[in-house]
């Protein structure tokens, strides 16, 4: 152990109750002014590791280690009272999403001042002065005004800055940041990362915990990859990302979609045991199958879905109206993927609902195969609804939790739900469901399970199967991979690519993640505050953006080095 180590961990083991330990022997050290990133997928044990360093793994957690030292002093087996003296003073914690990580009922100034109240003898006036200094230091403009506000009244970036201010109020030598940028828009994410880097450069040791390799590569000096409770690979950031040694690391690096051309596989074969047998011929040339067909030119020019000057506004709580979508136009060509990208609040999801005719249009028109779609009555639209499928981000919320996968899919196939167990299990129905599941890479064994019993990736596959059940020509995907781990995201993106080729589907793909959109799209629409700021072919927009905002977004996308 070097003398400068702020944090030294040897063979950390954490378990809950009688079940098998979730952290199974983790060792690392962290020096002042250094940033170590622990990267892993959900359930790998990275958050538990981070919380153990504050003695906050939980009331029923068993924390053991050969060594656990903060600032050269062992913190193994400390009482809660002894821990409380250290928390905030020797180590600060920044969590994801300050909307709920700061008390939503209290002004941020009070939250930040709490650290000072607990650990110093400063009077109220001195604390108030220090809070303003801190807010200024984390780059919050107008601190005097903002200090009175609660987390709900601030923007995502502002409140994340406030949360960081609360964590560094006492200048702790170690700052632990657990997914500090995960809920943020890409430009804000870049700003918060810059702030963390600045904190690091001021001499604080930063332990960054994230699922996103590309994000941490921006500021981490070293990366430790965590998998199933173990650190499987640790090294300098560039080395781990450019020349990963461990197979799991390679899989994670390969799964990052940014800068990978359209049609490239993201998931390595070994990581998708449930996937159907790939159609080798279609993949071998890795170009679009439509391009090789003789009538490709004719097919490509057909507009399947057209949005003409869409507008929609919402009523604010104070009664005034806010335009969510303002004069948005684009057209989707057959067999193509149109990506809609923008930050939160840019009107992407509202646009999706307008395309699905689930919200009334105030102005404009949506046409499906050149025929009126949004302007006809719901009664006439209903029989054509099967031709437009939809996939949502929150697949759990979009299923009835009491229905089994079999019931969900039978319902989506457009037949009356068989009332008896035996009818549901009729060979005919079963065959249809099995075919559908096979297409999305799931085995028939999931049929009796309920959505809660499935993993996130399996759920999104069921969501895709449900969207495919009506034999649609168009799929509207609203953030279909945003809540998934990067390797699962890679599998789902590959799956969407497969079904698109096989069924010659046209896709609207909505995402806040430019890397994903760049990977999947033929054409791109960039939205901001309800308006289209730029549109064009993906190749053009992503290499030579014309609008300043697109360029700014693009610059903020986290990328892997090399």
């Amino acid at each position: 152990m070097s003398a400068a180590a702020v944090l030294s961990v040897r063979a950390l083991r954490v378990g809950f109750g009688a079940s098998a330990p979730v952290v199974r022997g983790v060792s690392f050290e962290l020096a002042a002014g250094e940033c170590l990133a622990i990267v892993g997928e959900s359930g790998s044990g990275k958050s538990v590791t981070a919380r153990s360093l504050l003695g906050l793994a939980g009331a029923n957690a068993r924390v053991e280690a050969d060594r656990l030292e903060l600032g050269g002093q062992s913190v193994l087996g400390l009482t809660d009272r002894a821990w409380r003296v250290r928390r905030g003073k020797d180590v600060g914690l920044v969590l994801q999403d300050a909307l709920v990580s700061l008390d939503p009922l209290r002004p941020i100034g009070r939250e930040i001042a709490d650290s000072l109240r607990l650990h110093t003898t400063l009077g109220a006036a001195a604390r108030a002065r220090r809070v303003l200094e801190l807010l200024d230091a984390v780059g919050l403009s107008n601190p005097e005004l903002q200090v009175q506000k609660r987390s709900g009244q601030l923007s995502g970036g502002e409140r994340q800055r406030a949360l960081i201010a609360a964590a560094i109020a006492l200048n702790p030598p170690l700052l632990i940041a657990d997914e500090p940028t995960t809920a943020l828009d890409v430009t804000v994410q870049a700003q918060i990362l810059a702030l963390l880097e600045q904190i690091k450069l001021s001499g604080t040791a930063v332990l960054l915990v994230s699922h996103d390799l590309a994000v941490v590569s921006r500021i981490a000096d070293r990366v430790a990859v965590m998998h199933d409770g173990l650190l499987i690979e640790t090294g300098r950031t560039e080395r781990v990302l450019v020349a990963p040694q461990h197979e799991q690391t390679r899989r994670m690096v390969a799964a990052v979609p940014a800068d990978k051309p359209r049609g490239t596989r993201l998931s390595l074969a070994a990581s998708m045991p449930l996937a159907p047998a790939p159609i080798v011929s279609a993949r071998a040339d890795s170009t679009r199958p439509t391009a090789s067909k003789p009538d490709a030119a004719v097919v490509r020019e057909t507009v399947v879905l057209e949005a003409i000057g869409l507008s929609h506004s919402f009523r604010r709580p104070d009664g005034s109206r806010q335009l969510a979508v303002d004069d948005v136009s684009f057209s989707l060509l057959r067999g193509h993927t149109l990506g809609i990208v923008g930050e939160s609040g840019s009107g992407k999801t509202t646009t999706a609902r307008l395309l699905l005719a689930l919200l009334p249009l105030e102005q404009g028109d949506v046409q499906l195969f050149g025929q009126a779609w949004s302007s006809v009555s719901e009664k006439r639209r209903r029989r054509r609804r099967a031709s437009v499928g939809a996939i949502y981000q929150d697949s759990l919320g979009s299923f009835d939790p009491r229905w089994s996968v079999g019931e969900i899919l039978t319902d989506a196939l457009g037949r009356a739900l068989p009332q008896t167990r035996s009818a549901r299990r009729s060979p005919e129905n079963l065959a249809r469901l099995t075919t559908l599941l096979d297409e999305v890479g799931l085995a028939a064994t999931v049929l009796p399970r309920r959505p809660l019993e499935l993993s996130g990736g399996q759920r999104q596959r069921v969501g895709i199967a449900r969207a495919l059940a009506g034999r649609p020509d168009i799929l509207i995907c609203d953030e279909p991979v945003s809540s998934l781990d990067v390797s699962v995201q890679a599998q789902v993106l590959d799956l969407l690519d497969d079904v698109q080729r096989e069924r010659e589907l046209s896709l609207i793909f909505i995402s806040h993640d430019l890397g994903v959109v760049q990977h999947v799209s033929d054409e791109v629409v960039v939205m901001r505050s309800g308006r289209v700021v730029e549109s064009g072919s993906a190749a053009r927009v992503f290499t030579a953006p014309e609008h300043a905002y697109s360029a700014q977004l693009l610059a903020a996308v986290p990328r892997l080095p090399g």
Binding site: K89, L95, L163
Partner: protein, 329 residues
């Protein structure tokens, strides 16, 4: 068709709106209160009419009084019972609108002073019971979320049992235990403090069980929240986490329900005041219903409705105080 939003009408929306909105909210509240009072008066009026028998008989001392047909006719004419029911209804509404609650048939005095005289005792009972219920619920919720698994089980069982206790059973059991066996508290409620204990307990315990269940659940949710983790990471103590953060969140749903709880306490007062022979609105109401004393019934119900409306306004105000997010900026 929705009005398209143009820059011009967006600007118009922005200026004079706050004042209009505040006035509009007040107006809506007032209109709602008037509607509730009207509905209460109407439903009570017709409900009492549904009781079989001649109201004139009630004025003359009930069915046992053997009044002469002449006397009955005279009373009918005086009170308007010979008019069509709808005319009587409108007359009654007109009187209520001017604040006149009428005269009691059986007691031959004005309903207004009579009801107001009884109001204080019942209000005291209800307010004390609500406060005690809050104290018990808070204590139970705090203890059961803190003492581990056994405390959680015991706490939730106690809450369920308490919430399920009927008032009349609890009242008689309390009398048997404290007045007859131990003999420390009077079975009949007097104005003394000791006389208040059993009635207040009877009303408070079931309500405490109910509020406790809600508080414990919201307290558990709050304690699991990321902001509580953040506070702990700052070095906040267990007590600090609860007092500064969690209890405030946990009290919100219970505050909203307190308006409703107050209404249920007043209806509970009917049982409690009768069992403990305590003067108050509940007993007045029960007597009036037995004697078919329509003006008193309507008077009591109207006063209770007004109290309920005021209590709802109060809980709204308290909610806004505790949860600043509810205040419109």
């Amino acid at each position: 068709m929705v009005e398209p939003v143009t820059p011009a009408n967006r600007r118009r929306d922005g200026l004079a709106r706050p004042v209009f909105r505040a006035l509009g909210r007040l107006g809506a509240r007032l209109a709602g209160a008037i509607f509730v009072l009207w509905a209460v008066a109407s439903i009570t009026f017709f409900a009492v009419r549904l009781i079989p028998g001649d109201p004139a008989q009630a004025v003359l001392g009930g069915p046992g009084s053997q009044a002469s047909p002449e006397a009955l006719a005279a009373v009918s004419a005086e009170y308007g019972f010979d008019q069509p029911v709808f005319t009587q209804y409108l007359t009654q509404l007109g009187r209520l609108a001017t604040g006149d609650l009428g005269r009691s048939y059986s007691l031959n005095m004005d309903v207004g002073p009579l009801v107001l005289d009884q109001l204080g005792g019942t209000l005291l009972l209800a307010v004390l019971a609500l406060s005690l219920a809050w104290v018990i619920a808070l204590a139970l919720a705090t203890w059961s979320t803190r003492g581990g698994l056994v405390a959680a089980r015991v706490g939730s069982s106690l809450e369920i049992v308490a919430a399920a206790l009927p008032h009349f059973w609890l009242a008689t059991s309390l009398i048997v235990v404290f007045s007859i066996w131990i003999g420390v508290l009077p079975p009949i409620s007097t104005d003394s403090l000791a006389g208040l204990v059993l009635p207040v307990l009877t009303l408070a315990v079931p309500l405490a069980g109910f509020l406790g269940q809600i508080m414990r659940e919201s307290l558990l949710i709050a304690l699991e929240s990321p902001f509580v983790l953040s506070a702990r990471a700052r070095g906040e103590s267990e007590r600090g986490v609860r007092w500064v953060h969690a209890l405030r969140h946990a009290s919100l749903p219970a505050i909203s329900l307190s308006g409703w709880a107050f209404g249920s306490l007043i209806s509970g007062a009917v049982v409690v005041e009768t069992i403990f022979a305590r003067p108050g609105l509940g007993r007045t109401l029960l007597n009036a219903v037995t004697l078919r004393d329509v003006p008193v019934v309507i008077g009591v119900v109207m006063i209770v409705a007004v109290a309920y409306i005021l209590m709802t306004l109060l809980t709204d105000a308290v909610s806004r105080l505790v949860d600043p997010r509810l205040r419109l900026s």
